[in-house]
Amino acid sequence: MNPTNTDGHNHYTDLSQIHQWTHEQFLKRAKTKPDRRCRIALAPAQDEPFLQGVALASEAGFLQPILIGNERRIHEIIDRADIRINADWRIIHEPDAMDAVAHAATLIKQGEADSLMRGRIVVYDFFKTLFHPERGLRDRKQFWSQVGILQIPDFPRLLIISDCGLNVNPDLHQKVRIIENAVDLAHSIGITTPRVALLAAVEAVYLKMPVLVEESILAHFSRRGGFKDALLDGPLSLDLAISPQAAEKKKMTGEVAGRADILIVNNIYVGNSLYKSLVTLGKAQAASVVVGGHVPVVLPSRSESPQDVLHSLALAAGLWAQRTTGEGPE
């Protein structure tokens, strides 16, 4: 399966193709590197749906979990939910939530873990620890952002949405980095020319609304070649971005209107509500990772099903395999 064999655009229809992509990355990696699983540290690990998702990923064969947290409670959950654990699972006792995350970061720095996943901890505490100058993982030059990939019933392709979970109120520079990160992820999974829509409430540019002005600047920046191998337009309302009929009715032309692969939102409030409307009432399945760092960080939202956690883990493991093969866009 190659989603890009015709025109470089998005031909993914569902998330199982992401699993297949991950599988291919592991095969490619195995040609040059020792064949092993991706070691993902889950911190803090005492969370039932997350552990179930990790068990699914372990069964699928691409993941070796490292569970960091309250050991007694982890075992309780494993027993109660009847989660099948493999002999290669590691469990590390670290009862304090923030310390558990710091421990995961240390494992990554020492090369004992390849990626990490948010467990039972508030997102902002999780990232506070990861962004800590000594205990954390972030390099000052790096810009981290959350990217979600959604499979929506009756919608013909996967949709990539950013940033729904990390950057609260990005300024213009940060938005450029958010777009770059999302486009990089699209390139990684084989969408060589993603179509990026900058979302707003309307498509007209009213100078009194800063969002519209900023998005117009970004669209112009893109027309002058600001983003490599991506087509970008904005501001666009949601229906104009994704519905060819709506785009036609409103006589909206351009490469992006009606055909967007990537939706960039203006702030976290917009992104989070959009993402959650899709996974709750829209019955979408989702994979969610934070990119921009040395390692992909898995960031499932706490209401997600084990199946969604599995999708996120597959995506992160695939990114790890690709990166360690020395291939891919970076």
Partner: protein, 332 residues
């Protein structure tokens, strides 16, 4: 007929349409005045609403244009009452006068900018001004949600400040009460369910939620900050261990900005198959508006919602006391 606001709560677009018809049967068909009616989409929607017995249209606008448009959409112009006012601002003013005189229960936007219409309605001259801020509420019938879901404000107020948020809430409450929801459950959206200074929006939500708890905002249950999934999904609310009656059972969600409200509503319409009935509240009469992209059902239910609100508000006390200092000063 019992007061409209005391009737059982409405749960879907279909029920909104049925109630509008019932009101028509009991009190005589309700009239909706259309400002600058020279718009084929609007004419068609009004024509359909008339056929269904939902409302009767009073068309204010360019008579010649209206007649020629009626020909193109194959509607008999004689089925409408038309007042010839070609200028769009004058048409807005004339519509306001008709509504203020009690000859129409709702105003519908035709072929003129929303801002022109709102400027007339908010001007003290025509007697329709109610509060300082008008706001849009998208009332959605979402498959998979057990009641109607209001989303506000995705259409008018760009970045509501504190006072504007209170006004947006009171406007939404007026619509809920017209729909028979006695004690509306309102969720203030802010991405996460706890107060964190990293997410500034949560602070304001918590303040407003506390005000409601204290009784400063009466006739309403408010919870905030909440994320969208805890607001509409009881399972998530239970996982998180929240005991609030609003969570998982919200009647209205209040967005932090026009982008959030707009994109959220469009997400549910495009991806979750929601039917949309839109209305602007805050003036003494409701303002219906339909957009070109709306389906026939969306348009019909929007007009019906206008009729339900308009007829209910005629029977209700519209003053909605919020006890902040400024409001108190105004009240005294």
């Amino acid at each position: 007929m019992q007061p409209i606001s005391k009737m059982p709560p409405l749960r879907s677009a279909q029920e909104i349409i049925e109630r509008a018809k019932d009101i028509g049967k009991a009190q005589g068909i309700q009239r909706v005045v259309i400002a600058a009616a020279q718009d084929d989409d609007v004419l068609e929607a009004v024509h359909n609403a008339q056929l269904e017995g939902i409302a009767e249209g009073v068309l204010v606008g360019d008579r010649q244009r209206i007649r020629s448009l009626c020909k193109t959409i194959d509607v008999d112009p004689r089925s409408f009452h038309i007042e010839n006012v070609p200028d769009e601002t004058q048409a807005a003013i004339r519509s306001a006068e008709i509504a203020a005189a009690g000859d129409a229960c709702a105003i519908m936007k035709g072929f003129l900018p929303t801002s022109t219409l709102l400027r007339v309605l908010l001007s003290k001259k025509y007697g329709l001004r109610q509060v300082d801020t008008v706001s849009h509420v998208a009332v959605l019938t979402v498959p998979g949600y057990h009641k109607l879901l209001g989303i506000t404000d995705g259409g008018i107020v760009v970045r509501p400040d504190f006072e504007q948020k209170l006004a947006i809430i009171s406007n939404a409450v007026m619509i809920c009460r017209a729909m028979g929801i006695q004690l509306p459950k309102i969720a203030m959206l802010a991405t996460i369910d706890m107060v964190r200074e990293e997410v500034p929006e949560t602070l304001e939500c918590a303040t407003i939620s506390r005000m409601a708890e204290e009784g400063q905002i009466p006739h309403v249950q408010i919870e905030g900050p909440v994320s969208f999934d805890t607001a509409v999904d009881r399972r998530v609310a239970e996982i998180m261990g929240f005991g609030s009656p609003v969570m998982g059972d919200a009647d209205v969600v209040v967005a932090s900005s026009i982008e959030e409200g707009n994109i959220l509503a469009k997400s549910l319409i495009n991806f979750a198959g929601a039917i949309f009935s839109g209305i602007i509240a805050g003036a003494k009469v409701p303002i219906c508006l339909v957009s070109r992209a709306d389906s026939a059902m969306n348009k019909m239910s929007s007009i019906a919602l206008g009729v339900v609100c308009g007829a209910a508000w005629e029977q209700m006390d519209l003053s909605f006391p919020i006890y902040t200092d400024t409001y108190r000063q105004k009240a005294w």
